[in-house]
């Protein structure tokens, strides 16, 4: 029995790749978990697109300030060194390439880095938020997948997305419960593989051709 990474494991693996001093935007949902996995002694600055740099952890409920929320509309705090700014300035930061890493969830990622993460077929109500700006503007776009395949078993990493796109050729790296995959000009390159999982087994769960790094690292669930 091979144990896939938990969402906390994935978040920890992502956090380990964020360098000291980086400016990072965490998407709503799964990416938010990364904030709790920052390695001790490493300082990076979280950006929230609703006008906040230096986002800190959630406050105790009694201390929640309704004026101080994150992009997911949850109460947060501001750390020393943080700042507030308006929406146009916030997205100037994003579009202008000042955010080092944008971390998002995804429905589908194509081998060329195309991303689909905002619209599902048959959705009653479209909604996009800031995802298209983030993937167009951040220096690095990383995608987190709680599960390498969808609930119905269909791969999320595919040759071509068939869902509405969020951005073209924008994803740089994929972190799933089974692997870490770089999107390179030569296609998808697996840099980390879950302990006990064979390359063939990962390929079987992936809708696009994978290559494997020579010094592919091992991912272990905790």
């Amino acid at each position: 029995m091979i144990t896939p990474l938990s969402t906390q494991d994935i978040a920890r693996r992502v956090a380990a790749d964020i360098v000291e001093g980086a400016y990072v935007n965490l998407g709503i949902g799964l990416p938010m978990l990364v904030a709790d996995q920052i390695p001790p002694g490493r300082e990076f600055v979280l950006h929230s697109e609703n006008g906040l740099l230096g986002m800190g952890p959630a406050p105790l409920p009694a201390a929640a300030n309704p004026d101080l929320i994150n992009a997911g509309k949850q109460p947060v705090t501001i750390l020393p060194g943080g700042s507030f700014f308006h929406h146009a300035d916030s997205f100037a930061m994003i579009r202008g390439g000042h955010i080092d890493v944008s971390i998002l969830g995804a429905y589908q990622i194509a081998a060329n880095g195309d991303l689909a993460n905002w619209a599902l077929p048959g959705a009653k109500l479209p909604a996009v938020g800031g995802a298209m700006d983030l993937v167009a503007g951040a220096k690095q776009v990383w995608v987190m997948l709680a599960a390498h395949v969808a609930k119905d078993g269909q791969p999320r990493v595919v040759e071509r997305c068939d869902l509405p796109l969020t951005g073209l050729a924008c994803v740089d790296r994929i972190y799933s419960d089974l692997a870490v995959i770089d999107v390179t000009p030569e296609g998808l390159l697996v840099t980390d593989l879950l302990a006990g999982l064979t390359p063939e087994a990962l390929q079987a769960k992936t809708g696009a051709t994978l290559r494997f790094a020579q010094n592919c690292r091992v991912l272990r669930a905790t």
Binding site: L52, I69, H86, H87, L125
Partner: protein, 222 residues
């Protein structure tokens, strides 16, 4: 003596230039932070019809924007993220076909409004290139990268929520309740501001919205 203060929300919306049937309204706020709820209720009480609302979200619960929607005053919404936990009123109207919806990426929405206030009729952005939200848009290549042309967005009236205001209309904001409010204040024929506190004087280095952008303001209970 310049004095833009009005006594209450009913007075501030009365005979406001541009506030009439068919008007377009920029409405500040992100989630429940920085939403001009009292102004929205005052507009609701005017009994207007056929309004266009430009706002990041489409209201939640029974707050100001939801109340305006519920009154049947609005036939068109331009926003980035209409879907939220409590956006029941909007969802019902949309499902019934009583409201048309234009989805705009959040950063493009902010920048289009900023352009509207800054006399820039159109600009190019990488956001949404190659996605359904850029369909029908003119595109252009600069330095090997593809961009979408986006048009400035202005409205007849802007409704904003601020922390403090003075008789000249100078505004400050609280934390992330700043969000869209400062840019929206610049992009309307009339800008109405509700503030939590009227002050005699605002230190000039701390002003976020200079009074030149504000037509009228009123104090509301926090």
């Amino acid at each position: 003596m310049i004095d833009k203060r009005y006594r209450n929300a009913a007075e501030i919306v009365a005979q406001c230039p541009g506030l009439q049937d068919g008007a377009s309204l920029l409405v500040g706020g992100f989630g429940d932070a920085g939403v001009p709820n009292q102004l929205l209720l005052a507009v609701r009480d005017l009994g207007l019809t056929n309004l266009t609302i430009i706002s990041n979200n489409a209201g939640s619960g029974d707050g100001g924007l939801a109340a305006l929607l519920k009154a049947g005053a609005v036939t068109r919404v331009v926003c980035s993220f209409p879907r939220s936990a409590g956006s029941v009123v909007f969802e019902e109207l949309y499902a019934a076909g009583d409201i048309t919806l234009e989805i705009v990426p959040q950063g493009t929405l902010a920048e289009r409004i900023r352009a509207g206030g800054a006399g820039i009729p159109a600009f190019y952005t990488p956001t949404a290139y190659g996605t359904p939200l850029a369909e029908g848009r003119e595109t252009r290549e600069f330095n090997g990268r593809h961009y979408v042309m986006e048009m400035a967005l202005r409205a007849d009236v802007a409704l904003v929520h601020a922390c403090t205001g003075d008789r000249w209309g100078n505004l400050t904001y609280a934390a992330t309740a700043r969000n869209f409010n400062p840019v929206m204040a610049t992009a309307a024929t009339s800008t109405l501001a509700e503030v939590r506190q009227l002050v005699d004087h605002t230190p000039p280095e701390t002003i976020i919205t200079p009074g030149i952008f504000v037509t009228r303001l009123v104090a509301v209970a926090a």
